[in-house]
């Protein structure tokens, strides 16, 4: 799998997305994304390996034969990618920034969804809603979406809650809301909006994009730390390393538990891992859930 730093050197985001998806899907049978209006098509005899949840048990009771229901998929999955483009997402240079990593992930997800005939949209925000591309199917729309993605720069402060609410409200039907952010924000407000989206019936996924330095203290000696969004400066020393790592781990764990609480998917996307690996882990996680 190609790592994020290598992929970030490739300007063709569509190619990057395809490579990432190909890497993620290698060995997987199918996409874990499902439409919500799958239409019944026919029965066929059960064959070993078929998913037991599609077995028509009532028909088995009447006929004593095992049949599997087959559906005709319709293009009805509407996935809205909600991308955090605040200044904190620029962190990670010169290797690969969280912004670049999230861009690659978003492109790969859009490519994956559009490739299976579904619709993908994009919401980019920092302190306000910056870019909105409604979910639509088709290759040309995908290119339009990838172009919008490629123009995103990380800057400004973060107001995730408002952007998530706007993205959710603009989804006309039930759909998938995929949030890509480092979640350095008002946690309560963001959690409330994600919970609300899940409660409405959307398939909520959180890609928690973090750099290794977000999780571990990697600097020795006395340092003056400056917040990339607020500009706040804090004087500290290596003695704070232990406490830092513990708090970061607690932060991640807290978000994982929150997402699990209302059925949202939580994926920790570390920028030192290849995007395809992160995407694959996510797809496997979805497959496990869907079984």
């Amino acid at each position: 799998m190609l790592d994020a730093a290598l992929l970030s050197s490739i300007r063709d985001l569509e190619f990057v997305a395809r490579v990432t998806v190909d890497g993620a899907l290698a060995g997987l049978h199918r996409s874990p994304f499902h439409g919500y209006s799958a239409e019944f098509s026919q029965y066929r005899h059960y064959r070993p390996g078929d998913d037991l949840k599609y077995v028509d048990w009532k028909l088995f009771a009447r006929t004593d034969r095992v049949y599997t229901k087959q559906f005709r998929e319709t293009t009805n999955l509407r996935m809205q990618l909600v991308l955090d483009a605040s200044a904190s997402m620029a962190f990670g240079e010169p290797r690969v920034s969280k912004m670049e990593y999230a861009r690659q992930l978003a492109a790969a997800l859009a490519h994956l969804v559009v490739s299976q005939g579904d619709a993908a949209g994009l919401t980019v925000y920092d302190a306000a809603l910056r870019t909105y591309v409604g979910p639509r199917p088709g290759r040309s729309h995908l290119r339009h979406l990838l172009t919008a993605l490629s123009r995103v720069d990380a800057a400004g402060r973060t107001r995730s809650a408002q952007a998530i609410r706007a993205a959710v409200d603009l989804l006309e039907n039930r759909g998938a809301v995929v949030c890509l952010s480092d979640l350095y924000d008002d946690e309560g407000a963001v959690d409330a909006e994600l919970h609300r989206a899940a409660r409405i019936g959307h398939d909520v996924t959180v890609f928690h994009v973090l750099a290794p330095e977000d999780l571990e203290w990697r600097w020795g000696g006395d340092v003056e730390v400056e917040d990339s969004e607020t500009g706040q400066r804090v004087l500290t020393s290596a003695a704070a390393a232990g406490a830092y790592a513990g708090r970061a781990a607690a932060f991640v764990q807290q978000w994982r538990e929150r997402c699990l609480a209302y059925g949202a998917d939580y994926v920790l996307a570390r920028t030192d891992q290849p995007p395809a690996q992160t995407l694959r882990a996510f797809l496997l996680q979805r497959q496990d859930v869907s079984r």
């Binding site: 962190f91 240079e93 350095y184 750099a211 006395d222 003056e224 917040d227 400066r233 500290t236 704070a240």
Partner: protein, 408 residues
């Protein structure tokens, strides 16, 4: 002995504390890093304010030495030793006072100034119409002149009264003074009175004839023509003698044998005119005398011969007019411009020699106006030290002033 021409510059030596402050007292700035969020960071407020120990003592010493050398150079040190004092004594600083009112051709003045300037190591030309004022200015300039033997040279014709011994003495002991007298020194105005007193001249010769008295002044030779002959009436020798004394006191030009004057006063017997051609000088002198007589309304007739100017005046020998006529006749022999020059009285050379003083050697405070310093050696030292400091600094790894967290 080391003297400081700009002692205020020594204050700059305090700047050597700068590198010390930078190395020892400056509170260390922590490395600054930018992170996504500071929410997990425990503040340690004292972490960035520790006093830094000298990280590189060699660099510290080099920088202090650079600052010290530069500061001392700014103060312009001057090492005063025997050799330097000797060099100062051998050097000549001359203030040349040029008398602009002197009746001397400008070319001669400038030539003298050039010669004096060339002979001096440091020279200042002061042009003054008033010599005492020029001397004051010269003395003032010499007080601020670079260390050297100091001298004032006065270039003038030194007319009487232009300078006195008081003016020369007022220059002071810190400077010598010398006088360059230009122009021909004319003989002192020889009045008739002087001529009378001089040995070897026939001071008075009275010949009494039947009709007249002739008083002659001239050379002692019996056969030589008399420079002045006054002819009056019989027995008027006393009046004529008195007349000559009056003329002498009035300061008339002395008679000369080659330009003889004959004055015939009232009472003198008539004499036939000579037919010889008149000399050029008698014509010119006669013209001047007639011009004078017309202006003064004096009854005079004049004619010239080849060797004498003959004046006929219808005035008695004992009158003032007679004395004036004799004096005018004597003066008429000379061009008026020539007379004016001859009337210039100059300060005697021996007086000027008495006022002259040798150049004054530099005094103990002369270094204050030195036009040189040894600061250049300190500047050179500072430059060399800067080069060494640069080499040493380049050989040391530089700490990053600011580091991004993700570049750690």
């Amino acid at each position: 002995m080391i003297a400081w021409l700009h002692p205020a510059g020594l204050v700059a030596v305090a700047l050597i504390a700068g590198p010390v402050i930078v190395h020892l007292l400056l509170r260390r700035r922590a490395r600054r890093i930018r992170v996504s969020s500071v929410r997990f960071i425990t503040p340690h407020t004292h972490a960035a304010v520790r006093i830094r120990r000298p990280s590189d003592p060699l660099l510290l010493v080099l920088r202090m030495a650079i600052v010290a050398a530069a500061a001392l150079a700014v103060a312009r040190p001057l090492v005063i030793d025997a050799a330097r004092r000797s060099a100062w004594t051998e050097r000549r600083a001359v203030a040349i006072v040029v008398d602009t009112s002197a009746r001397i051709a400008p070319e001669r003045l400038e030539e003298a100034v050039r010669a004096e300037t060339a002979a001096a190591d440091v020279a200042e030309v002061i042009r003054a119409g008033n010599l005492p004022s020029g001397l004051t200015r010269a003395a003032a300039w010499l007080r601020t002149a670079p260390p050297a033997s100091r001298d004032i040279v006065v270039v003038s014709d030194f007319r009487h009264g232009a300078l006195t011994h008081v003016d020369a003495a007022a220059v002071g002991e810190h400077s010598g003074i010398r006088f360059v007298q230009l122009g021909e020194v004319p003989p002192p105005p020889e009045a008739v009175e002087l001529l009378i007193a001089r040995d070897g001249l026939k001071t008075r010769t009275v010949r009494v004839e039947n009709e007249s008295t002739v008083v002659s002044l001239g050379s002692a030779a019996e056969d030589a023509p008399a420079g002045l002959r006054v002819v009056g009436g019989r027995d008027e020798d006393a009046e004529i003698a008195a007349l000559l004394r009056v003329v002498a006191r009035a300061g008339a030009r002395a008679p000369s044998d080659d330009r003889a004057v004959l004055v015939r006063l009232r009472g003198a017997p008539a004499q036939q005119r000579e037919t010889a051609a008149a000399a050029a000088w008698t014509l010119e002198a006669g013209r001047r005398l007639l011009h004078w007589a017309a202006r003064e309304d004096v009854p005079v007739t004049v004619h010239g011969t080849s060797d004498a100017l003959i004046v006929q005046a219808d005035v008695p020998a004992g009158s003032v007019e007679a004395a004036e006529i004799v004096r005018a006749a004597l003066d008429a022999r000379h061009d008026p411009e020539e007379l004016r020059a001859l009337e210039v009285v100059r300060i005697p050379r021996d007086a000027l020699d008495r006022w002259t003083r040798p150049p004054a050697v530099p005094d103990a405070e002369a270094w204050r106006h030195a036009d040189e310093s040894d600061g250049r050696w300190l500047w050179a030292l500072a430059i060399v030290l800067m080069l060494v400091e640069g080499l040493v600094r380049r050989s040391r790894p530089l700490p990053a002033a600011e580091v991004r967290a993700d570049a750690a």
